[in-house]
Amino acid sequence: MEKDAIKVKINGRRYDLNVPPWKTLLEVLREDLKLTGTKEGCGQGECGSCTVIMGGKTVNSCLVLGVEADGQEILTIEGLASGAALNPIQEAFVEHAGMQCGFCTPGMIMSAKALLDRNPNPSETDIREGIAGNFCRCTGYTKIIESIDAAAKAMKGGA
């Protein structure tokens, strides 16, 4: 039982890694690459806290093996801001109180990003469905939905 060599692009940067097959992508991100922004909540693919974008799609990184990420392009929460400038979704979450304890926030923002990439003009129902795989226990979702709506408007160039 040995490590496997993988090549993966994360937040625009290429990595050559050696990972044992039983390490999940979430563990590789957090422990090998020290990208601790992505969180482990349930570890079972139920809570969505570990959501990252892989190959352009949201996945629960706790259910993906590190070795399965070979050849893939991955975007995590750390890859959204450009230096000091926050991504519009991040800005909106701060302004509209879309986060409280912040634990679900990285995964939630990744789901929001994937939603807005797919559908830049979402209705409230679209937004609710877009984050339906992400639990939040603090906010009751209302301000998350408002934040995503505000982000969508900002990204289209004004409310």
């Binding site: 999940t24 139920e46 969505g48 949201t58 259910l63 993906v64 070795v67 789901s111 339906a132 795989g133």
Partner: protein
């Protein structure tokens, strides 16, 4: 002893490039030493929870391009390759338009994140009685193409399920694809899932219905039920009273009641058998109406 595992157990990982390689890895293993997977959304939680025998080798099918397809044509119908994801199937224009029961069922599974990795083939191989794709595939009389070193065989989806978490697959066998032959033009469908929340739940009751109506008469009607028997099942008696008849309210009610009587639910911590049986009646009635309205 009780240990709550956060880490996966140790195993080797192989990603074959071709079907033959995969099948030869599987060999005739009947001890669970070799396990194939695609999306991993069922296998990985089970491995973490030590709820299955830990394999020595995990075989990733995602390198096999011959399994990666979702195609349709008027002649052969729809072919869902082993690697077609739930999301792809749910949103494929052809499936939404011509096989709405399957598109609705696929959309009801778990979450977008799970749908982006999980496969329809994986959904039926996991074979939980509440699997959402199953009632739809039963209505569509889908066929499952199974492959082993010794060759290929095709089984009806209804025979594929043998019991909770048990399929007809023999050691060394994998599912290559699911085939849905072309439905007559004008086939409508609906999948209704009963659960306390609006998302993420396992179905307490799942009902799929397809129907063709010509000149007011039902020429074809199929009813698939999930979560109300050891395997997903067809409600044939209910179908029987509807076939060839005009679908009026009273007849639909009668059919729904028959479907309820045919179902064999159990009491479990999610719901009682009595409630499930009552809900089969309600959902079958609604699914038929919805079908005929679409």
């Amino acid at each position: 002893m009780v240990t709550f595992y956060r880490r996966l157990p140790k195993f080797d990982y192989v990603k074959p490039k071709g079907i033959e390689e995969a099948l030869s890895l599987l060999g005739n293993d009947d001890e669970g030493r070799v396990k194939v997977f695609a999306g991993g959304t069922d296998v990985i939680p089970k491995l973490k929870g030590r709820l299955m025998k830990i394999p020595e080798v995990l075989v990733d099918l995602k390198g096999i391009s011959d399994l990666r397809f979702l195609v349709h044509d008027e002649g052969r119908g729809l072919r869902i390759g082993a690697l077609a994801t739930i999301f792809e199937v749910a949103h494929a224009p052809f499936v939404k338009e011509r096989l709405p029961v399957l598109s609705q069922a696929a959309r009801a599974i778990a979450s977008t994140q799970v749908q982006n990795r999980g496969t329809i083939v994986g959904n039926i191989c996991n074979a939980v009685p509440s699997a959402d794709s199953a009632p739809a595939l039963l209505c569509l009389e889908a066929e499952v193409v199974c492959l082993s070193k010794t060759g290929e065989r095709t089984v009806k989806v209804e025979e594929f399920f043998m019991g909770p978490n048990r399929t007809i697959l023999k050691p060394g066998e994998i599912v290559k694809e699911i085939r849905v032959s072309m439905r007559p033009g004008g086939t409508r469908g609906a999948y209704l899932k009963l659960s306390p929340r609006s998302k993420m739940d396992l179905a307490v009751v799942g009902v799929g219905v397809t129907a063709v109506r010509e000149d007011g008469v039902l020429k074809d009607v199929k009813i698939g039920l999930g979560a109300v028997a050891p395997t997903p099942m067809r409600a044939r008696k209910a179908e029987g009273v509807l076939l060839g008849e005009r679908a009026g309210d009273a007849l639909i009610r009668r059919a729904a009641k028959l479907a309820s009587e045919e179902s064999k639910p159990i009491d479990d911590h999610r719901a009682s058998a009595e409630y499930r049986r009552m809900m089969v009646e309600v959902l079958v009635r609604r699914a038929i109406h919805q079908c005929l309205r679409n």
